[in-house]
Subunit: 557 residues, 2 copies
């Protein structure tokens, strides 16, 4: 099934906001119903393809036949940009001027190589396309200028096999276009799991996880995707890179780590060898209440530094805890609890009703997955640490509720957009001592810029990825959609990016760079870092056709 | 104190082989006493420096004064090549034609930058020099041709401070020239440890660990050095790279992983930010006996994949177990046990006397370090796994003996060389299923080539670094020093390298590439991988003065 072209996921899964929540959004945040309905697919003004019949024929030869080159409007629209809120607002407004000229569906590594050769020869820009879930402009290259003859989306959906599973090494070779649920299904039949469950799980692909360094909700237990990768096969216009002869090596720089996070700018990942784990026998989620975000963060730090680590570990700040009790689906529920929570949130204090029986505080969700005895032992030991850190056990309900709703947030965003609201997220990471000021600075930047734009927002935050030396911060912003939501968000995002860099954070913990984060990324790695990466790109993609302007400025800029 | 110029370590720590062992080496391996004594430092024919007074003056200005530029023969000799056995045989034979022209001792990052600018302008090759412990030619650049005006060793010994310790983040900023024991002392005063204890521990530096991706004997518990690094400061001829704003990031490729393992070819690491751990309250080592190398490897795999991991975990094959009961210092002991062991080893079977009370088998050494309760729990759980895998607990003695002798092997090698023997090591890593054939192939290659050279060797092996998906193999070779030991070893090493590549291993798990492993490294990463790294080098070191020929072929080759 294809993803909804102007929103998230499976249209059948969409759920409108209850009237009560609409009223609440209006009363608390000034959200007004959208005055124009979203554009219809049939009404979109998609430009005629720039590439000629000769290019299309060459692409068809490269990709195994004419059926592998799609030029219809729906296909081109479905490959236009990604799923950030600005992406959605623009496509809802009918903006598809940058639709790719064609969609190419190669059937294997060699066909990807052949497509890249055609594109390099003809100077056609190539956008590697997996699940299409980028929220940082990773599917929106700068290919309008720069002398490009056109743009094609290279959709990897036909590369969708589990090609090897080694039960001794516990490694699996997965085609890059394999979607995460299908990867889990194929591995699960053999008794294994990857353990990578990001919010985009239902749609994103294995290759996309590698290209963008995804991190899943169970990263405390299974690690980040880049930590799972032991091998990569990469097609470039100059040929093939095969990386990863051993789990670890001292043979030079780790080239896997140069491809991971390269977002299609250096090559197209066609297959990924990953470490897999036995399917967990038990899964148990539960909730804890902490008096404050700082107290909760200290508890997470204790677990990350001295163990034991739960498989899932996340902490919502006071606002996120109040709004929906950290249960996204409750925001859409009509039972009144969300109203109360949002009321408290709007009141702005940590003294309202919140997680569990007692008022105020912050919700921590923990999950334990694994063999029965091991998971139980780990849970018992974690309880000791969490109690010592001041936590109050709330039981299974908040944890199970989180697990039930874990992939619902993007659907909720569609409902919020439908209701006329604005909702978007951004994230960062830093070392533990930097987090409090990073949190305040980013939150402040978002509040200030959006309030100045006339749309004071609700800003929520959670920590969902922890390390010995630091953690991530994930912010969700909900507010009214003013007269110029794209402009307002651009200013807010710029202020947040500046705050992140000034307070010692990284511009992205797991969303990637794309085109949206490029200026901050350049500041983060400095001019020499940019020069080193540009040099790599020149070596692997001398024509500069791979995702131009993603990750790095175009060579002609 | 300076390291012995023609051997290892502190001369006061040297111990000659007992006569009984000499006799044994003669009888079993045909080792004859060396017919010529090693050259004396005073007799060495060190060429006159190639760099002129103007260059030396410019270097002195860059490095803080004339006292920072050393041109005396002893200083130049001490910076000639590294500590591989061929390095030692050549320096013992008086070969110092490639001594650096000068040794420069900058006092900080900015002085390193200034030295690099001088060298780039004057086209003087620069060899970054930490502890001088490379065993793969990492200190032996190809700088005799290529139009270089000379070669300087850039010794980082003055960069020797712990500049920051963050007890909340558990990170420390260490100058690159800090030697490991001093780093541990400075951290230990504050209650922390790095946990990195390679065999070169007593001499190697923090910067060297990073530049070569070192892995210590406690890697099961503390990780490899590259896994400890969260930040790097790097001086290049083009300026400074400062990397690592967060524990993990999705902001592009991980540039830290491009510098780690770059062996001075891209820049000079001047400071390293590492994750530190609390000093362990308890340290307990013990030994286990397994019936075979395969059975022991299966036990290690079980611990690596399903836990719990001891802090130290190593398995000796049958031969290594017999020779010295995996206790290096016993080989030098005169109590007869080594004689018996070597007798059995020479008999070639797994049926001789060996670890513990019963004959045959393979020794596993395990160590548990940490907080008292945690380490005890982990030990108890590991016992269950090791017993289930067929292990027989031998008690503390073999473990403690290993711990006592853990840094003695390089001294033993000097004694073996003094006694006329040849002794060298090499190592690799691969995924678990590849290990048995990798083991047989490398062992066979070493046996065959050295036997064909008239010096049938004793080849021992251990696994000392484990991962979920695979492990390292570390080989030790001891034999007679025939008429052409350098030629014979070159052939043996080449055959071993070919076997490693053919059997799916990496050319180095923790020794690095240097100049010795360069051809296999190029095969390992392929021409596109080499092209990508060459491009990085061109961007950071356009004059090509940094360790030319190390890691990558020189640009003019």
């Amino acid at each position: 099934m294809d993803m909804l072209w102007n929103g998230w996921g499976d249209p059948a899964e969409a759920a409108p906001l209850p009237d009560g929540v609409r009223d609440l959004l209006r009363d608390l945040l000034g959200v007004r119903p959208a005055d124009t309905p979203p554009a219809a697919l049939a009404d979109l003004d998609v430009p005629a393809p720039r590439v000629g019949a000769d290019v299309l024929a060459a692409l068809a030869r490269a990709a195994g036949g004419a059926a592998s080159v799609l030029t219809g409007v729906p296909d081109r629209v479905r490959h236009t940009r990604g799923k950030s809120t600005p992406d959605l607002l623009r496509i809802r407004a009918g903006e598809v001027a940058d639709a790719p000229d064609a969609v190419v569906l190669p059937g294997g590594h060699d066909e990807v190589l052949a497509v890249l050769r055609v594109c390099a020869e003809r100077r056609v820009a190539v956008v590697p396309f997996g699940g299409g879930t980028s929220v940082t402009g990773g599917l929106a290259p700068d290919a309008q200028g720069g002398g490009f003859a056109g743009v094609v989306a290279l959709d990897l959906r036909r590369l969708d096999r589990l090609t090897a599973l080694d039960e001794v090494a516990r490694t699996a070779v997965l085609d890059a276009g394999l979607r995460a649920p299908e990867a889990e299904r194929l591995l699960g039949e053999r008794g294994f799991t990857l353990g990578h469950f990001p919010q985009s799980f239902e749609w994103a692909t294995v290759g996309g996880f590698a290209a963008t360094r995804g991190s899943g909700q169970a990263s405390a237990g299974y690690g980040r995707f880049d930590e799972m990768v032991v091998g990569l096969t990469v097609a470039t216009p100059e040929g093939t890179l095969r990386l990863g002869r051993a789990p670890r090596s001292a043979a030079g720089p780790d080239l896997r780590q140069l491809v991971l996070g390269s977002e299609g700018a250096f090559g197209v990942i066609t297959s990924v060898t990953v470490r897999v784990r036995p399917l967990p026998r038990v899964r148990a989620y539960e909730g804890w209440r902490f008096g404050s975000f700082d107290a909760g963060a200290a508890a997470l730090r204790a677990l990350a530094q001295d163990g034991p680590l739960p498989t899932v570990l996340r902490l919502s700040d006071e606002t996120e805890t109040m709004v929906g009790l950290a249960r996204p689906e409750d925001i859409g529920a009509a039972d009144g609890s969300a109203d109360e929570a949002a009321d408290e949130a709007a009141a702005g204090g940590a003294d309202g009703s919140a997680a569990g029986a007692r008022p105020g505080g912050c919700l921590v969700v923990t999950g334990y997955e694994g063999a029965a005895g091991e998971a139980a032992d780990r849970r018992a030991a974690a309880h000791v640490v969490l109690r010592a850190a001041g936590g109050e056990l709330l039981g299974a309900e908040p944890g199970e509720a989180w697990a039930q709703g874990r992939y619902r947030a993007p659907y909720l965003r569609d409902a919020l957009l439908d209701a006329g609201a604005f909702a978007e997220t951004l994230e960062t990471a830093g070392f533990w001592p930097a987090l409090p000021r990073l949190y305040e600075a980013v939150r402040g930047a978002l509040q200030e810029t959006l309030t100045a734009a006339g749309t004071p927002p609700l800003v929520m935050c959670h920590i969902s990825h922890v390390y010995e030396t630091g953690a991530s911060l994930y912010f969700t912003v909900v507010g009214a959609r003013g007269d110029d939501p794209l402009g307002a968000w651009e200013r807010a995002k710029r202020a947040a990016g500046d705050a992140i860099l000034e307070r010692g954070g990284t511009i992205s913990h797991h969303h990637g760079v794309g085109t949206d984060h490029r200026p901050w990324y350049a500041r983060e790695i400095g001019p020499l870092g940019v020069a080193a990466l540009r040099a790599v790109k020149s070596a692997l993609d001398p024509a500069g056709v791979l995702n131009p302007g993603v990750l790095l400025p175009r060579a002609d800029e």
